[in-house]
Subunit: 701 residues, 2 copies
Amino acid sequence: MEQVYVSYPSLDENKRHGAQQAGTQSETTQDKLIISNERPWKPWRSARSRIRGWAIRVQNAMLCLAGLEWYCYAALGVLMALMSFVMDLTVAKLLRAHHWLYSCLEGHKLLQFLCWTLYPACLCALSTSFSHSICPQSAGSGLPEMRAILSGVQLPDYLSLSNLFAKLVGLICTLSAGSSVFLGKVGPFVHLSNMVGAYLHRMYASACGTKQRRTQGDMLVVASAVGVASCFGAPISGVLFSIEVMGSHYSVRDYCPCFFAAVCGALSYRLLAVCSGEQETVNALFKTRFPTEIPYQPPEILFFALLGLLCGAVSCVYLFSHRWILRFVRANKLISRFIATEKTLYSGFVAFLLALVTFPYSAGSSMASQLTMRQLICSLLESTQWNSISHNATLLEESQQSLWQEWSPPGSSVYKTLGCFLIIKLWLLVLACTLPLPAGYFMPVFIYGAALGRFLGEGLAYLFPNGISPDTLSVINPGGYALVGAAAFAGAVTHTLSPALCALEMTGQSTHVVPILIATLISNAVSRSKHQPSFYDGISLIKKLPHLPSLIRACPKLSSVQIGRFVAPAGAVLQRGEKMAGVQNVLNNSTESQFPVVDTHESPTLLGTVTRDQLQAFLLEIQTEVLCKSLEDVCHIKPATLQLSPETTVKQVHCIMSVVREQRVFVTENGKLCGLITWKEVRSSAGKHTNTHTHTHKHTS
Amino acid sequence: MEQVYVSYPSLDENKRHGAQQAGTQSETTQDKLIISNERPWKPWRSARSRIRGWAIRVQNAMLCLAGLEWYCYAALGVLMALMSFVMDLTVAKLLRAHHWLYSCLEGHKLLQFLCWTLYPACLCALSTSFSHSICPQSAGSGLPEMRAILSGVQLPDYLSLSNLFAKLVGLICTLSAGSSVFLGKVGPFVHLSNMVGAYLHRMYASACGTKQRRTQGDMLVVASAVGVASCFGAPISGVLFSIEVMGSHYSVRDYCPCFFAAVCGALSYRLLAVCSGEQETVNALFKTRFPTEIPYQPPEILFFALLGLLCGAVSCVYLFSHRWILRFVRANKLISRFIATEKTLYSGFVAFLLALVTFPYSAGSSMASQLTMRQLICSLLESTQWNSISHNATLLEESQQSLWQEWSPPGSSVYKTLGCFLIIKLWLLVLACTLPLPAGYFMPVFIYGAALGRFLGEGLAYLFPNGISPDTLSVINPGGYALVGAAAFAGAVTHTLSPALCALEMTGQSTHVVPILIATLISNAVSRSKHQPSFYDGISLIKKLPHLPSLIRACPKLSSVQIGRFVAPAGAVLQRGEKMAGVQNVLNNSTESQFPVVDTHESPTLLGTVTRDQLQAFLLEIQTEVLCKSLEDVCHIKPATLQLSPETTVKQVHCIMSVVREQRVFVTENGKLCGLITWKEVRSSAGKHTNTHTHTHKHTS
């Protein structure tokens, strides 16, 4: 064996030296094991060992530069950007294949019909069957579940790797079904990002061991920001999204990691587009060219506010229909049994139905159904007035002209097409929301809002052909209205303000920041009136997921409900002077890992907690040594850092538990232990009120 | 008296009806009082009463539409925008007067010298003497104090109306001193906004009475956002500022109010500019015209990252010098005694010194000292390369040409001017920070960063005259580097990321969002390395203000320190069976408003609290009725909703107290009361560690 050492003495000396310093036998044994494993015929032995030495030095230098967690954040950003880019590429190829096939069959209406309808139907069926056979939890957007996990509920299936795989493949199929199914990618992407984040956190935790300073919760908050950022290349709105959607209290120490990871994701995503030759430089996703000198006249702000009102009102209709159809699907015995047993068939059927309506030779011709989602948004954000193009078609570039022709087919005006699109798409979108497959609902809503804004903008352009104040040369820009409408409608549906920033970052238009914010605030005010639940809250309520902020929003009484009546019994309780028999009994009859210790069972003043390991050590010691020792002589009782009283309100409990990130808090009354509160109890307290709430809802509706 | 009723019977009937409904005597008496106060000769009695009726109806309709707090937020935004606009106008007039006087004296160097130096010296002296004679607390930016107030410390002088007045007038004087003194307005403006917010909250609280749902803390968080928003017309960065600077946990329910108020402020501020004819439409404050097609080549991102590193390094120098000079001024007996007794003289002298250096016939000629702050930033953000102008001066418009001539005086290159500016301004800025007058330090830092970026940009433009990759037609845009540098340097000095967004919103440039964020993140990483305190933290530490997040950042050990050794004695404690004598004794010897009640004094198990009022009622009852009753028979003991143990860490205590917004929390050990924790104790725990920290600092330096 000594011969092996000869070839790389310097490294080995280091190793031996290190082993001697540490003074442990195990390390040297390990060294020998490594060395004995190295077969003598392996080539470039000295080179490899030198490289290994360098790698260790680089690793140490990197860890000097920043903590391990920062590399995890960067890796998360880059991974998600790569995933987003590959997904976009695949979806674009599949969509182009469909378009090519459809145009090849020109002249054969029946074949075209089959191609148009069966392609998305098959893809949706595939998406459903694949995701459900691998991981049934991968259906839907996953955002309400992520919110529940972030607020402390344990839903381990939602962060598993099989779910990641199922969701990724399912989402690609869903997106490839195109604009007839009309579903997006943001929500599942945030979920995917959370799964990758959870996986990275597990690696980080195993590398750091016990001294880790960041919890999984921190990583998930960061991952949510990365999800949005790498989906649109929009870092700031990603951070705002994770602030306002993901919890009720945002810890400012997550702020820098969020920004860092989001910028990594957004930059990688955009650089990938540059590398693939798609774009010339790092640019916005849907870059617009609005006039910058006078983007809008000051009086137009009133119209933008009006658009906010309109978007708010339509969002109420949409949210009501969405809740209604989800409840109907669950309540109707026939449909719910059909979905429960034949998910794939149901998906295929609904997708077929959606494609039937959008078939270009049926209603599709009057709702621009041949455009993909990307083309839809690009055409709606075009700053040229469509009305003026009708008179002079040379105003547009060729690529834009083909888009415009879809909106203004021969024998029909743009107003009619936009109107048809708005009326029909709303119901199609509501129907698509029942599909049991991985899908996002943000982008469709965003596009719908853009169409709503465009409709108003084109109408105003018709009314004021020379602009609002004719003495200046600026005319009305319907693209600006589309942008504002998109942000306002998406904000109203989700009850958030981050779509405003998302619209800015996606288009690179900072001229309209004030109108966008005004319209989004107004539409939010309308859609939040009367404590209506948001899109996410609606799903949370129907799926009975415990997301307290949304429950409080839906049922404001809850915030003043006292926790007293939801307190759970504390389970197995030990007393200070507990002897062997009692401890043995508790260990046998309970599966908990932590037990509260009280003064005596008669006067249960809470002293603290002991762990299962401590109890087992106690039993071991008492069996081998002295028999008369009691629990408190052997175990260190860890004091409970926090005690609540039964009079604390549900809201306070939620605040405290989410800030301190404690999973269980003891409730004492006059110092006496009377039970404990875990997330289950907070959930059940919320659940009871939700049920009564849903009940009253049913009665009123 | 009955005659008075005759003329407006309908309203009076309403009133009577209302009074009968309420069934209280006091209301009718009040009604009569109001009516008897109305003199019979007052004109348009019926019209006035009708108007009053309408006003009440409008008020009710408005309250139906939204809660009273939303009107307060809107009022706050509009008021601050108005204040900002009027301040800008006044300052611009005073600056123009100085400029006019200086140019009138052309040819008389001595007179010009006196005009150049005495004008700012007098204004600074005036600012100091005015603000100190009215309210000594109005000096400085006020941001560190606001952070302390928001984290729960009581500093009532900092929110008084006299402080508002002193700060407003003092700030106008400071800003009018111009670019030789080189101070800004953001910090004091956030403070002003907080004062107005606190005043509005007092009105809101008195209108709502006991049922108010919003605390003063909520209003102050909103006011901070409004301060930044109405100062620059930048709503989003205002909200981000209030998230990251003002506390350690951001409550998401403040998010919508923050945005709403910030948008109100920013919109009003920009609309005022439109109304005054300054701008044609709602536009960014320092609007830039960067090329939008290819704003930068992808390889330039590396240079932007380098700029981030550079800004981070320079910010470390600046922060170190700033802390050093503040400590020096406090430690040097001569200077500190001079400042303590002759603040006005000191201000005048320092301003004179600053003006002496920047006098155009001394060093000022080679550092563009004739430009105002606004002109400085506009000229630095110009996208044309200054180097190329030297060859072809017709590239610029006339207004820009005069600015450029300041940067490139005859016989000197732009590089030399920029270099002189960078070297001299740093020390002048550090010196200006010692001035005891209301002033902000954000804008100077922002401009300094812009100059730093411009210097790098011009250097790169010299090295690569045809752009980084010569096959495309885009050349290097030094204005982009200036923008990135400004955001990165301001972010590094304040340890925040909101300057990145601030730069975007102030210039309306969304093309550079990714470079700005990258550079700001890198410069932040550099300046935060080795736990150096930020600009605000440095002031907090030197002023010994209790801002825990900054203290934890400066002294990371603190987060794991247990609260046990800082627990204060609980003061006067009552026992459950306390009799008259004991209660009387406690009431006489203590001034507290709340007292803890324990089981017995021997075994002090905490039961809850009683208030002083309850105790006085108890004494009254016991004197008039039965003598044998004890405390618990008469008073309802309110249970303590929250108990901590001595093992809780300082950080946890801070989290919990800031989230629940409790001012005092009881500490129990095994159910027995052992003391309480208020903000004073958290502060003292922090203070002790700060002192040791400052101590070690002194030793090392």
